[in-house]
């Protein structure tokens, strides 16, 4: 059964966001958008999370934190880049301290564009991320079964 689709828990990390996208992520939890109707919970703990939502571009300071967070999450896990900064670096991409989008460091699965990303598109991105979670889980199972047969 597709349980990941029904209960994706999100960890939100602000890499170097201007706070515009962060506010939009939080807004999607408020009564107006209420992502909890999809079973989505905003956790603060990588060990509980299924989806890592990153806002802002990556720089030298946030790179290691991001990698740490990602490595602490149990499989299957999905990374979602929220906002143009996280997608490509946005207007900051040429800055001397900015490495670029999140995909310079980690394998991003879902890109949510927009500056700031609209709550509607964030929710859409979360639901896309759920499907990828299911896929990853199925693939992991297949791989494990394959290893058993060998």
């Amino acid at each position: 059964m597709a349980w990941f689709k029904r209960s994706p828990w999100i960890l939100h990390y602000n890499a170097t966001s201007c706070n515009g996208c962060d506010i939009e992520v939080i807004v999607s939890l408020t009564p107006l958008y209420d992502v909890e109707r999809f079973g989505i919970i905003n956790t603060g703990n990588p060990k509980h999370a299924d989806i890592l939502a990153v806002t802002g571009s990556v720089n030298e300071k946030s790179r290691q934190v991001l990698i740490n967070l990602y490595e602490q999450m149990p499989e299957p896990k999905v990374i979602m880049a929220v906002g143009l900064c996280a997608v490509s670096g946005c207007v900051f991409q040429d800055c001397y301290n900015v490495m670029g989008g999140v995909d310079k460091v980690l394998p991003v699965d879902v890109y949510v564009p927009g500056c700031a990303a609209r709550p509607e598109s964030i929710i859409d991105g979360m639901l896309k991320a759920c499907e990828i979670l299911e896929e990853k889980y199925a693939n992991r199972n297949k791989r494990e079964k394959g290893e058993e047969h060998e």
């Binding site: 349980w3 029904r6 209420d34 079973g39 603060g44």
Partner: protein, 293 residues
């Protein structure tokens, strides 16, 4: 209802225990789902599906198993085992004191699980859990004492079948028990160590190092515990099963209402207020009962 009760009474102890072990998680999960839905409505939100807690647990079961150290799982499994054990004892109708003590033992293993990892957040959560235990434990024991004073027995089966309304003898004990139920259900203002809300904060500390299946086990143990505590509420109204069930459900709704309306207390206030309330409501009730004899 009477037929249900008669059927339940005609069962042997083993059958009752099995019924509890199989049915309690269903009931507990459903209650938790309704809880989340009602809470959301209180906040002006739509809320998750009623079956959401089951989805969460099934999902957690499918997640990768990450262990910080091997004692972590050992403690968590014992926590589940003793919670189930004490619930089963309760529904088998044997000694109420034994039930209470094995529940306390379960709580102790939970605290040990929090302490056996390295994370300071987990340690803080475990310390808060101890404070909560010290805060609620006296009242739980007074509950058993009070019931013994009225019915002359510690046996749950005999207390449940006591024909006079227990609530009339023990209004203070019931009020005190309601107060500490808020701690046991992990509801605001007393949700210091493992809150249902505020997943980013220190009040979630206890679960910091648990992921996947271990977290699911904690959740399931919590369901078992809730069903058993509602059973204890039922005991006060055992003379009329319908009333008992109704009051048990109302109690839960009341706790949700409190949860939604209160900001979290500091641990000092949690501890002080629950002991004060235990003394004023519980102890005085028992003293009055003693004088009436």
């Amino acid at each position: 209802m009477n037929t249900i009760q008669e059927m339940f009474q005609s069962w042997g102890m083993v059958e009752r225990a099995v019924a509890f072990i199989l049915l309690a998680p269903l009931a507990g999960g459903l209650i938790a789902g309704i809880d989340r839905r009602v809470s959301a409505r209180f906040q002006g939100r739509y809320g998750p599906p009623v079956l959401q807690p089951f989805y969460d647990v099934f999902k957690l079961m499918q997640k990768q198993r990450i262990l910080v150290n091997k004692f972590q799982n050992f403690n968590i499994l014992l926590f589940l085992l003793f919670t189930v054990f004490s619930g089963a004892l309760f529904f088998m109708g044997v000694d109420l004191l034994l039930t209470i003590f094995s529940l306390a033992l379960a709580g102790t293993f939970f605290v040990l699980a929090g302490f056996c990892v390295g994370s300071p957040f987990s340690h803080l959560g475990a310390e808060r859990e101890i404070i909560q235990q010290v805060a609620y434990e006296p009242m739980v024991i007074l509950l058993a004492v009070g019931m013994y004073q009225v019915t002359g027995s510690f046996k749950v089966a005999e207390i449940a079948q006591f024909q006079a309304p227990l609530i009339l003898y023990l209004p203070g004990v019931f009020a005190g028990f309601l107060y500490i139920l808020t701690i046991k259900f992990r509801k605001s203002p007393f949700d210091l160590s493992m809150s249902h809300h505020a997943h980013q904060e220190i009040v979630r500390g206890m679960t910091t190092e648990f992921s996947g299946p271990a977290l699911a086990v904690i959740e399931i143990a919590h369901w078992y515990e809730n069903v058993m505590l509602l059973g204890m509420v039922y005991l006060f109204f055992g003379f009329n099963p319908w009333l008992g069930l109704g009051v048990a459900l109302l109690t839960y709704l009341f706790e949700i209402f409190i949860d939604m309306n209160y900001a979290r207390f500091k641990w000092q206030l949690t501890f002080g207020s629950s002991w004060l309330f235990t003394a004023v409501a519980g102890v005085s009730n028992i003293i009055v009962l003693g004088l009436m004899r």
